[in-house]
């Protein structure tokens, strides 16, 4: 049941920084907190989280630098820590730091985080690097497409950091309400999600985002301990129809493949 034990109690309001490795996440963290930070080993896991704080409008925001990850499907201890932190601590604001020079890959994580929470700000960092390489990011289009606020920064020169703090404050205080554009996974998957959600809600009663849990099961990620238990239980308990449900949807590969790619012109 260690899934339900949060990693200690963090002061509120709590801001989490997520992002791919090498996006300058820690530079932003350092720029926001200065030297007011300490690192700690949180319960059970040996991955370290750096914690610090900054003031805006006389509110002390606690800010946590999550380990750099490519996704939130727990493939590694870092990803598990990042995922569990977001799911369990339910930070008041999550800032996803992205690298302007390879935004496309970085958006993958953004879209995943958007599945879990509404309170998200996308920070496109390293715009100075991108400019040098002739890459320009249009924040208003990006913001419109994603449905969440977008801030452009160059952490090294301090560009955009004030705006980032302001946006964190606005999202926290509810002045701005992000409305993430969720992905429609296609008929089949959406049907599966809809069928799974009642079971998950029944079992976890509000402790976890049911849509996310359903997606996890479908993509075969059982790293959330109790999900695995739930699946096992249903396997033993044949009378329940859950078993059939899981069976059908969890060999995810077929489902994941079918609605999406059509191999054009190629013959294998």
């Amino acid at each position: 049941m260690d899934f339900f034990i949060p990693y200690g109690n963090f002061p509120r309001p709590l801001v989490a920084l997520a992002g791919n490795p090498n996006t300058g996440k820690s530079t932003i963290f350092n720029a926001l907190t200065g030297l007011k930070q300490h690192t700690g080993n949180w319960t059970g896991k040996t991955v370290t989280l750096a914690q610090g704080s900054f003031f805006y409008n006389n509110i002390k925001f606690c800010i946590v630098d999550l380990p750099g990850t490519y996704s939130l499907l727990a493939n590694s201890p870092e990803e598990e820590v990042a995922r569990n932190f977001i799911l369990l601590q339910k930070p008041d604001v999550i800032v996803v730091i992205t690298d302007a020079t390879c935004l496309e890959r970085n958006l993958n994580l953004v879209l995943q985080v958007m599945e879990i929470t509404d309170r998200i700000i996308v920070c496109v960092n390293l715009i100075d690097e991108a400019k040098k390489k002739g890459i320009f990011v249009d924040e208003s289009i990006l913001s419109k497409e994603l449905g969440v606020p977008v801030i452009l920064t160059a952490a090294r020169t301090g560009l955009g950091l004030q705006e980032l703090k302001e946006m964190i404050f606005k999202v926290y205080s509810g002045k701005i309400k992000p409305s993430p554009q969720r992905i429609n996974y296609g008929k089949e998957v959406e049907k599966a999600i809809a069928e799974l959600i009642p079971f998950i809600e029944n079992k976890f009663s509000g402790t976890i985002n049911p849509r996310w849990a359903a997606l996890s099961i479908i993509s075969g990620d059982y790293s959330i301990k109790d999900l695995e238990e739930l699946v096992k239980k249903s396997e033993n308990n044949r009378e329940e129809s859950t078993h059939g449900l899981f069976k059908r949807y969890n060999c995810g590969e077929n489902i994941r493949k079918s609605p999406v790619h059509s191999t054009k012109g190629s013959k294998i």
Partner: protein, 436 residues
């Protein structure tokens, strides 16, 4: 998953505008650092330059620090005398604890304060993954993978950190091998010792090019350590930890010009002071204990000499001597204090020379029977011997069992003896042939 990417691509295409694609600079640097002609060469050159800079840069501040600390020693002695401490206690505090500590600070701080920023610079630049990329082929042959090289690079700073860094390796088997072999990379606790010995004994061959020769020797030693790592990895992956190499997927991040202020804060504040603090915390009590051992007489000989005499036959076999082995054993809490303990053991009066007498150091060692061979063997032993206590503790907690820590200690130490025995046997053989 694919759906998410489809959307990401769609959004990115709308929001991102590419004017002209300019990643030629990155590619050119990468070709220079990884191509057939220049890949290995640039890696070795970089290594030697770092050592050279550290050696040259550390020389003057080291002497200055030693002078300052020596002056403070005089004040401290007078102060302790004035408050009426008995002579023995005074000697224990000043000659035992203070001198060992002063030695560690003056010999270690300057090289650390130069090496760590240089290393952090490479790290922030994005060079380290290229090392893994370059060396993956060799590690694959040894049954592991290039990420081991990343953990090894971190080992230059501190082997305990290097062992922790092995977490980036996904395969448990390859991770275990990387953990067990990490101490074959000389950490910062051992660098000052290696550099000093290389400078005195190998650099001494050609006084004009002394520093250059010494840095090449240390770089050569590091390469030897890498070869040993590969060899032992191969050995482990074909015996205790059998298995096929897994996959190797590594992102090579774009090069980034590091932020100088950030480097200095990170390397000095988070690394140098941390490592130095630990060394001092260990050096002071260890210095005190060694002073006691050196001054308590047992059958007309001090305890230190007794212990050294016991270890002497074993040491001689490996081209070392009893005092050297004793210093390595006593230095197991932190490798920084090996040399000061050794010197304290050699000096009959039971106190260390003060660290500003570096020039006289070579004569002192030679008067205790040191030759170039002894120096080389001591360097090899330092490179290969059992990991320090902190590293062993980290191995235990990372592998979840004391037996792997014990295994690591036995494996490395027996290898250290074997290599030292071989070099001294070869040396003896050659000198015997030359005599004929």
């Amino acid at each position: 998953m694919e759906k998410i990417y489809e959307k990401a691509q769609c959004i990115a295409q709308k929001a991102v505008r590419y004017d002209k694609f300019q990643e030629d600079i990155d590619k050119k640097i990468d070709l220079l650092l990884t191509s057939k002609a220049t890949g290995i060469l640039s890696m070795l050159l970089l290594l030697s330059v770092i050592f050279w800079l550290t050696l040259v840069g550390a020389n003057y501040p080291s002497q200055l620090l030693a002078k300052i600390l020596f002056v403070i020693e005089g004040y401290l002695e007078r102060f302790l005398h004035q408050i009426g401490l008995p002579g023995v206690v005074n000697d224990f505090l000043v000659d035992g604890m203070y001198r060992t500590m002063a030695w560690v600070v003056s010999v270690m701080l300057p090289p650390l304060a130069i090496f760590f920023p240089l290393f952090t610079f490479l790290e922030e630049l994005g060079y380290l993954p290229r090392i893994a990329f370059n060396l993956d082929y060799f590690f694959k042959k040894a049954g592991t993978q290039g990420k081991q090289a990343l953990a090894m690079s971190m080992g230059f700073g501190c082997n305990a950190v290097g062992v922790t860094c092995c977490r980036i390796i996904n395969s448990p088997r390859e991770r275990m091998i990387a953990i067990l072999t990490n101490s074959f990379v000389p950490c910062n606790g051992r660098f000052p010792t290696l550099m000093l010995l290389a400078y005195l004994f190998i650099g001494g061959i050609m006084p004009n090019l002394g520093r250059m020769l010494a840095s090449l020797a240390v770089a050569g030693l590091v390469v030897f350590g890498i070869l040993i790592t590969l060899l032992v990895s191969k050995l482990l992956s074909s015996t205790f930890l059998k298995g096929l190499p897994s996959s190797f997927i590594l992102e090579l991040p774009p090069y980034r010009v590091p932020h100088i202020g950030h480097i200095i804060i990170r390397s000095i504040y988070e690394r140098t002071l941390l490592v130095l603090g630990r060394a001092i915390a260990v050096a002071a009590p260890a210095g005190g204990i060694i002073w006691l051992l050196a001054n308590i007489k047992f059958e007309n000989q001090n305890l230190l000499a007794n212990a050294a005499a016991l270890l002497d036959p074993l040491g001689r076999l490996a081209g070392l001597d009893g005092y050297i082995l004793l210093a390595f054993i006593a230095g197991s809490p932190a490798n920084e204090i090996v040399l000061p303990i050794l010197l304290m053991g050699y000096l009959a009066q039971g106190t260390m020379v003060s660290p500003d007498e570096l020039t006289g150091l070579k004569e002192l060692l030679e008067s205790y029977g040191w030759t170039t061979l002894t120096a080389i063997n001591t360097m090899l032993f330092s490179l290969l011997h059992f990991p320090c206590a902190t590293t062993l503790w980290t191995i235990k907690s990372e592998t979840g069992g004391a037996r792997w820590a014990v295994f690591a200690a036995v494996l490395t130490t027996s290898l250290a003896f074997l290599v030292c025995f071989l070099t001294s046997s070869l040396y003896r053989l050659f000198s015997w042939i030359i005599k004929l």
